[in-house]
């Protein structure tokens, strides 16, 4: 792949250089040095060297705020993905957050001979079955908890609550003991080689499992399987995000909830929202719980604001400011909690609350809850058991 291919594939050559993308980019808002328009301009001028060495190349959140509003219909996030692949070939990479441990972990998982103790979190209360046609794709949640211990995040609860919900619907799904990272972050930071390996390993494991349907609780895994895997491997299964799955069940009247008296707001993860256009199923699920009042933030659905960091890369003061802005939007609604469907959004929001920085910023404390944990609570019993 060359830069010219990237320009063609993303229709970047249509760019009118109007600057609308920069005008609505959340990164540009806090980092005036970053301009999506200039990135495209560099490419169009053939300044490949400038582009791949631009320190801002990894700042894009690939949140798709710009592209749907682009008058020339340029797929800028995809252009970033392709340009980063070129940069990666040149040995460039973004600033890896958390000392790069997450990236190391992802690449580690790309090794075929890796032996994982991946299902240690399962307890006696959870029913899984090797015979099931349904696979629950867990994602990286089991690894996140120790890394983000300081933020108090419990991403494993998402996995446990998902199982609890499936079990309560009479489904004992299969979970893969050798599941790998979906590779989302590697793909979006230009490491296409390791992404391909992960995709192939997952595809092989799924084929061997012989399931017909895969349910995801992570918005990123879902996006990756749905949109990116088809370019690399063949997955012959029905794919569904758990919010879509639950929304269907609720419509059929197969789920009923006990009352939870709470005012909530919903944060659209970029991958589920703008990437896949799934805005209403999570809201339908939330609103079907009696007693809940769902209020919307100023920016919602297609206009939603990103949580501020993607692929654990270039997480800087700008990311922090975006996060704070989003949390202030949530607080302005008067909601008690912010619901989301992406473990990373949760991690980032919690991080913003814990690491307030040296100067005391505005009060951004608000409970962050994953959709499945809310649903599990509404099903009764204690959450995450």
């Amino acid at each position: 792949m060359t830069l010219e291919d990237a320009v063609k594939e993303t229709k970047a050559y249509y760019c009118l250089e109007c600057g609308k993308c920069s005008g609505l980019c959340p990164v540009s808002r806090y980092n005036p040095a970053y301009s999506p328009r200039v990135m495209v301009e560099d490419a169009l001028l053939g300044l490949e060297d400038d582009l791949v060495h631009n320190r801002q190349l990894f700042s894009c959140l690939t949140c798709y705020a710009c592209s749907p509003k682009c008058p020339a219909d340029v797929d800028y996030p995809l252009f970033m993905q392709k340009s980063r692949a070129l940069a990666a070939k040149d040995g460039q990479q973004g600033d890896c957050a958390h000392s790069g441990v997450l990236q190391s972990l992802m690449r580690l998982m790309a090794s075929p001979n890796l032996k994982q103790k991946r299902l240690e979190w399962l307890s006696n209360g959870h029913r899984t079955s090797d015979q099931s046609n349904v696979l629950y794709f867990v994602g990286c949640a089991p690894y996140f908890d120790p890394i983000f211990e300081d933020t108090g995040v419990k991403s494993l609860d998402v996995a446990r609550d998902s199982l609890k919900i499936l079990n309560s619907l009479g489904i004992a799904p299969k979970v893969l003991p050798n599941e790998r990272c979906c590779g989302h972050d590697l793909l979006w930071t230009g490491d296409t080689e390791n992404f391909r390996r992960l995709a192939e390993l997952n595809a092989a494991a799924i084929k061997e499992a012989g399931v017909k349907k895969i349910i995801f609780s992570c918005a990123e895994c879902y996006r990756t399987f749905k949109k990116d895997y088809p370019n690399y491997v063949k997955i012959d299964c029905e794919l569904q995000h758990i919010s879509e799955f639950l929304s269907e069940k609720i419509e059929k009247g197969e789920l009923s909830f006990k009352e939870i008296k709470k005012k909530l707001t919903y944060h659209d993860p970029c991958r589920l929202g703008r990437h896949l256009g799934i805005y209403e199923p999570p809201r339908r699920v939330i609103e079907s719980i009696p007693g809940i009042e769902l209020v919307e933030m100023k920016d919602n659905r297609a206009e939603s604001l990103c949580c501020g960091t993607s692929a654990f890369t270039n997480c800087d003061s700008c990311s922090k400011q975006i996060r704070v802005e989003r949390l202030l939007q949530a607080k302005a609604t008067g909601a008690e909690s912010i619901i989301t469907c992406c473990p990373k959004c949760q991690i980032h929001f919690r991080c913003a609350m814990v690491n307030k920085g040296e100067v005391k910023g505005p009060d951004v404390e608000i409970e962050v809850v994953d959709l499945v944990s809310l649903v599990a609570q509404a099903l009764g019993g204690k959450s995450s058991e």
Binding site: L16, C18, G19, C21, S22, G23, R29, R37, V38, P71
Partner: protein, 899 residues
């Protein structure tokens, strides 16, 4: 070759082409779909780059065109069909109905003064209002008014008597109570009665009910009737008798009273024969006092008597004494039978003869006539209609300890009015659904209880309601010492002679012609419950209206005129309700529960004047025109014709010029710019109206949020144009248009700072660049290169623009007081349909396709059909005018045989 030319579209291009061709001696037909020629230019305040007053240039041209002896302007008209070919086109033109006689209207505007319906003005881009009868703008040509009718309002369509409900609601909203009552009385002689007891199908169909709650139409009608009484302004002038014939009406119920009052108004003599000592029929003794006070009823009837109707009480017409045949001998030329349905139907169960069984109608009659009626302690009413509810609430008032209703179906099927059921429950009356009596139990000849059986609902029966089926073995006994069966009524036809020649149905009702209501006996008509079986007051009134018309025709020996086909009923989807604030109906004040139990004072107290006006203002004006007919009264020239029909006109022309101009692109889809969400973000055309001296604010630009005159404003270019997802082309005029508006802002309010966000400034025209330079140097205008990404608003209502300055590459925010979006301009919205009719091709953006752009730049794909102005391609006014002159020359050329 035909020497006439058809110009489609009366904007500046169409006007110029018309004048040019007319001056060359051609006969020109100028067809304009709106009520006035002038087009978009008429909406503009000034033109660039000279800042001339747009109307000052345009108006003389409009007049010249309209008055030219060779031009025939067909305004408010559309092209329906085009056949033939170059040199000989046959064109069918639809002349839409203005509902105003063009030859009589003087444009004086008295009608609009009186019109109660206020709607948004299209000409003012929704920033100003107009009336339902209107002239689009002061200088409109032709100088004629037009009535906007969207269709028949559902309230009117639903009313059996066809009362113009929207009309009187509109009049009430303007405080015109007297006029409102007059309007009701045109179709309904009993407003005080119907305002209280009508089942108001109008409210059921009211479109407002689909938003929140229907308009309280009945309560409003009652208000105007009561208002008249309370003001002591009842002003009934007897109608002079102009016709010799007199008519006998048997029965003084709603049907009889309507026939009588209508015929008296036509000049006939009418005598009403009433068997009872009080007039009103079922209204008088069937409906309890607490729902319809006798005083209100008698006042209303007295008004009808004052018109000239004679009512003879205690005068039964029947087999003993006075018979129908006697009426002929007494000189009556026609008879109307409206005796109603007054006999209670029997339950047909054992024990019905026991003491303590009191049939509903007799019960209500005896109470109403003031006879002493003793009620039991436990009273059971059988039935689910309004009579059952009336009997229950009456028994409750007479001191029964416990009153309950037994009904064999469920609440859903219950025929009584919902509010009556609610009031009954409110007063403590219990309703046992899905139960039916099997036997009335007795002890010493008196009622001691009632055996009932449970029912369940089966398949729907002939009435469409689900048929109740007894559940075997589910019998149970209820304790009761009085049973009031109220399961329906039939007509008592005992008054007819034994060997009557009248055709009577098996149900005991008169067989009549459904249109004329004539019985089989010539000169005898019948209507109301005696024909339909027990029905509503308003249906009886409707029958009375029909019978009066029919009797008049019969007496004059003319056939009944065919009924007018009404305009289609307006649906909620036809109405733009996005700006209608959700607001429930005004609650009707009622007598507190404690005070009700042992009295018969009226429960519903009626609306106050303020409440009535507030309630009436909720009306959505479904029909736009409300048929209140105030314009008819105001028009000295007698130009109004609410029944006017559209017409077709056939033309023969040699060539056709298409010049239908542009429409404004709807920018609310570009959500990032906040139009419709942020009040201080407006469109350029809205701005144009708001700064125009003739506009809704007389040229003073104020912010929607706080009324402040903004001194810092921003314009955004290319909103919806040069955009692949909206319109990829450049709209051509916006850079200069914005510059002009920025200059105007400064001129109106010196010191105003304007900022124009642009992609690249297109100043490609004579003196355009100088215009831009002047703007920056003399008028405090700044141009920023960059297409904004997003507009937010802060707590002051100030828009905050997020943008990248694409010259410096910096991303910034810009706070301003008002944002003006220069929306894309698109070919006029009707172009697709019109192109189909004209048989011409359009390009992918709906501009006219020009196959030979170099050598025949004004020719469309069909020979003899030419195009100019914006619909040809994006362009400004001078270009459109020049092109129009070109088209005129080309039309002359092709008619002369040039290719």
């Amino acid at each position: 070759m035909n020497d006439s030319v058809l110009i489609v579209g009366g904007g500046i291009a169409g006007i110029q082409a018309s004048i040019d061709l007319a001056n060359m001696g051609f006969q020109v037909y100028l067809v304009e779909k709106s009520p006035s020629i002038g087009g978009r230019m008429a909406q503009l305040d000034k033109t660039f780059p000279t800042n001339d007053c747009a109307m000052c240039i345009l108006a003389p041209k409009m007049i010249e065109c309209y008055r030219h002896k060779n031009v025939k302007v067909l305004s408010y008209s559309e092209i329906a069909e085009v056949n033939g070919q170059l040199g000989n086109f046959q064109v069918k033109v639809l002349r839409k109905s203005r509902y105003i006689d063009e030859t009589k209207c003087t444009g004086c505007g008295e009608c609009a003064e009186k019109c109660p319906v206020v709607v948004k003005s299209e000409f003012e881009e929704g920033k100003g209002t107009r009336k339902a009868i209107y002239k689009p703008f002061a200088q409109a040509i032709p100088n004629l008014y037009v009535i906007a009718k969207r269709g028949t309002p559902p309230c009117k369509a639903a009313c059996p008597a066809g009362v113009d409900a929207q009309g009187y609601v509109a009049l009430i909203s303007q405080g015109k109570f007297k006029e409102a009552l007059e309007l009701v009385r045109r179709r309904n002689p009993l407003p005080a009665v119907c305002g209280r007891v009508c089942t108001h199908p109008c409210e059921t169909e009211c479109n407002r009910g689909k938003l929140d709650q229907p308009i309280a139409i009945a309560a409003l009608k009652r208000f105007v009737a009561d208002y008249e009484v309370s003001m002591g302004t009842e002003d009934v002038t007897p109608v002079p008798r102009t016709k010799e014939e007199k008519i006998a009406v048997i029965g003084s119920g709603p049907a009889g009273l309507t026939v009588a009052s209508d015929l008296v108004k036509m000049g006939y003599g009418v005598t009403v024969f009433e068997a009872m000592p009080q007039p009103g029929g079922m209204l008088s003794w069937g409906i309890p006092e607490y729902r319809l006070p006798k005083k209100a009823l008698q006042t209303e009837i007295a008004g009808i008597q004052k018109l000239g109707v004679e009512i003879k009480l205690n005068s039964p017409v029947g087999k003993d004494g006075l018979t129908i045949d006697d009426l002929w001998e007494q000189g009556y030329k026609a008879t109307f039978i409206g005796v109603g349905a007054q006999a209670s139907m029997k339950l047909d169960v054992p024990g019905e003869e026991l003491e303590g069984v009191y049939h509903g109608i007799s019960f209500l009659r005896d109470v109403n006539l003031g006879e002493e009626v003793k009620v039991g302690k436990h009273v059971a009413i059988v039935g689910g209609g309004n009579v059952a509810i009336d009997a229950a609430r009456t028994a409750h008032r007479l001191g029964a300890k416990e009153v309950f209703i037994v009904y064999r179906r469920s609440r859903e099927e219950m025929p009584a009015s919902e509010e009556e059921i609610e009031e009954a429950e409110h007063e403590g009356i219990k309703i046992h659904y899905l139960a039916a009596p099997v036997k009335i139990l007795g002890k010493n000849g008196k009622v001691a209880g009632m055996e009932c059986i449970r029912m369940e609902l089966g398949e729907p029966d002939a009435s469409g309601r689900r048929r109740p089926v007894p559940v075997k073995g589910s019998e149970f006994v209820i304790d009761a010492d009085m049973i009031i069966p109220a399961i329906g009524q039939t007509s008592d036809l005992a008054f007819l002679p034994k060997k009557s020649q009248f055709q009577v149905s098996r149900r005991g009702t008169f067989e009549v012609d459904p249109i004329s209501l004539a019985t089989n006996v010539p000169g005898v008509f019948a209507g109301g419950d005696v024909v339909s079986g027990p029905a509503t007051v308003v249906e009886a009134i409707a029958a009375g209206k029909r019978a009066a018309l029919s009797i008049d025709c019969y007496l004059r020996g003319v056939p009944l005129p065919p009924e007018e086909e009404p305009l289609p009923t307006v649906k909620i989807e036809d109405i733009d309700t996005k700006d209608s604030e959700r607001k429930n109906r005004v609650a009707m004040p009622t007598v507190p529960l404690k005070k009700r139990a042992h009295g018969f004072t009226e429960v519903n107290l009626g609306l106050s004047q303020e409440m009535a006006v507030e309630e009436a203002k909720r009306c959505l004006d479904c029909g736009i025109c409300s048929w209140c007919r105030e314009c008819e009264k105001a028009c000295q020239a007698k130009a109004i014709n609410h029944e006017m029909k559209e017409q077709y006109l056939d033309l023969n022309v040699g060539a056709i010029v298409l010049a239908i101009g542009l429409d404004l692109y709807d920018v609310s889809g570009l959500t990032e710019y906040g139009y419709g969400r942020i009040p201080n973000v407006i469109t350029a055309m809205e701005y144009e109206r708001l700064t125009s001296a003739s506009g809704p604010t007389a040229g003073v630009l104020r912010r929607a949020t706080d009324g402040k005159i903004p001194t810092n404003i921003a314009f955004i270019q290319c909103v919806g144009s040069r955009d692949f997802k909206n319109n990829p082309y450049c709209s051509s005029v916006c850079c200069m248009h914005a510059t002009k508006e920025a200059i105007l802002a400064y001129e109106h309010h010196p010191g105003t700072k304007s900022t124009i966000f642009y992609m690249d400034l297109r100043a490609v025209g004579k003196r355009f660049q100088e215009y831009v330079d002047r703007a920056t140097k003399e008028y405090n205008v700044t141009y920023i290169r960059g297409r904004p990404g997003k507009i937010d608003a802060n707590s002051n209502g100030n828009p905050i623009i997020w943008y990248e300055d694409t010259i410096t590459g910096e991303t910034k925010t810009f706070e301003t007081e008002m944002v003006i979006l220069c929306q894309a301009l698109i070919p006029s919205r009707g172009i697709r349909e019109l192109a189909g009719i004209l048989g011409i091709k359009l390009d992918e953006h709906s501009f006219v396709e020009i196959p030979d752009k170099l050598w025949r730049p004004l020719d469309t794909t069909r020979p003899g059909v030419l195009a100019c102005g914006y619909v040809h391609s994006p362009r400004d006014i001078p270009d459109s005018v020049a092109q129009a002159s070109g088209t005129a020359a080309r039309a002359a050329e092709v008619i002369a045989g040039g290719v």
